[in-house]
Symmetry: C2
Subunit: 228 residues, 2 copies
DNA sequence: CGCGGCTTTGATGTTCATCAAGTAAAGTGG
DNA sequence: CCACTTTACTTGATGAACATCAAAGCCGCG
């Protein structure tokens, strides 16, 4: 095995492991497993035991859960640096949500005991994990409140802007989720997602080619997102 | 000053400070301030700087925030052990929500730097904080998803059961919040909260005397909560 | 090439917000 | 303590927003 651990070069090292000693890093590096997932593959299954601390190195994923009546609710869509396996990882023995890849994704998996040990031994590491957790749950909660307070047009406008500004950083992008999933994400029906998209198209706000969206009147979309 | 720190007797000590040494505890104890709040008093104001780590010793509080259009959204209702000042405390410099007392409440306030120091020095403490944080954000997120997936009747039934089973542990209790606040909590209008309450009363599910609620047909209320 | 899931549009009815208007309760200052 | 103001509560009427149901075209995949 190399003296130089391959994690040293990982662009996500600074995110969580900035304050980890060389020895600790070596141990992490030897115990970690990288996994690749193709579109639609499940990364985490609701109800399964939590054994790994998982974070997203690249790609895009959705966090979702099943309701009693068999439907799905999407909690959030996470990209790298947004954290995957943070919610409930430290408070529960089992996952109470599932995670699925929306794009080709790569995760880094570390045995949870290893991470817990590191938290106990290394205060700076503990601090950075706590800060990260705090930021992530905050983000999810605020996002959910922002969705809730809008009507359908506002909700759809909001997430289109989210894809455009935050995820893809472009006015033209391929929707990473189906119409049905958009509905599950923002709490409306598939039919109304489609109808509202069509409205936006007719109003000259969007161009739509299947999954490809081009935002042509962003100012107007922002207005709808603010006023509903 | 006493040798014996008064925090030693605090029933909440075990919750966060179980793993803290005697010296650390003395320091905490000297720097902490207990504060009392009467009904309606503000404990935390949105936008203010975060300087204290605040937890609820007794009482009941609401966490809420203002939307752009001047309305209020209640994020959750917290009781002791449910944590108050956990969301965003470690990731942000300012609060992005407010907290108000719904009942006579007492908080214990510790300078945030003190807690951060403790996290760095004491791994077991860091672990217990992380577990607590994880559990709290999980609770809030699941709660919000559960509210969202229901129709009005289901939402109202859900929170009535929440008050009855979780908060007051009785079929008869005084609502700690106004009709308007219920509306802000579960995302509906005040008028419809009232109308639905009246419906429940007419259906023989509840008795209502102002703020006092008595659940007379819990089985039925549970059914409504499940099926909407 | 046929099956199942996704997408689309239309018709219909329910659910819910909004507006209006009045009563009750609770806080406020003289 | 009473008049006054404000805030909370309540009911009804109306229309808009939204879900549901139905039917058909499309697409990818075994």
């Amino acid at each position: 095995m190399d003296q130089q651990c391959s994690c040293e070069k990982c662009e996500l090292k600074q995110l969580f492991f900035e304050n980890v000693t060389e020895n600790e890093m070596m141990s992490l590096c030897q115990n970690r497993i990288e996994k690749s997932y193709s579109i639609g593959e499940k990364i985490i299954t609701e109800g399964n035991e939590i054994t790994q601390f998982i974070y997203l190195k690249s790609g895009l994923v959705k966090l979702y859960r099943h309701t009693e009546d068999g439907k799905e609710q999407i909690m959030t869509i996470a990209k790298p640096f947004d954290f995957v396996s943070i919610l409930s990882v430290f408070s529960d023995l089992k996952y109470n949500y599932s995670v699925k890849a929306l794009e080709e994704s790569v995760t880094c998996n570390i045995p949870i005991a290893e991470v817990k040990g590191l938290i106990r031994k290394n205060g700076r590491f503990a601090t950075s994990i706590i800060e990260k957790m705090s930021a992530v749950s905050d983000k999810v909660i605020i996002e959910m409140l922002e969705i809730r307070r809008r009507n359908l047009r506002g909700r759809l406008a909001l997430i289109l802007l989210y894809f455009s500004n935050v995820i893809f950083k472009s006015n033209s992008f391929d929707l990473p989720i189906s119409r049905k999933e958009i509905a599950e994400y923002i709490g409306m029906t598939t039919e109304n997602v489609i109808r509202t998209l069509t409205e936006f198209r007719k109003d000259g706000i969007l161009k739509i080619y299947g999954k490809t969206i081009e935002i042509t009147d962003k100012k107007r979309l922002k207005l709808i997102s603010r006023l509903g």
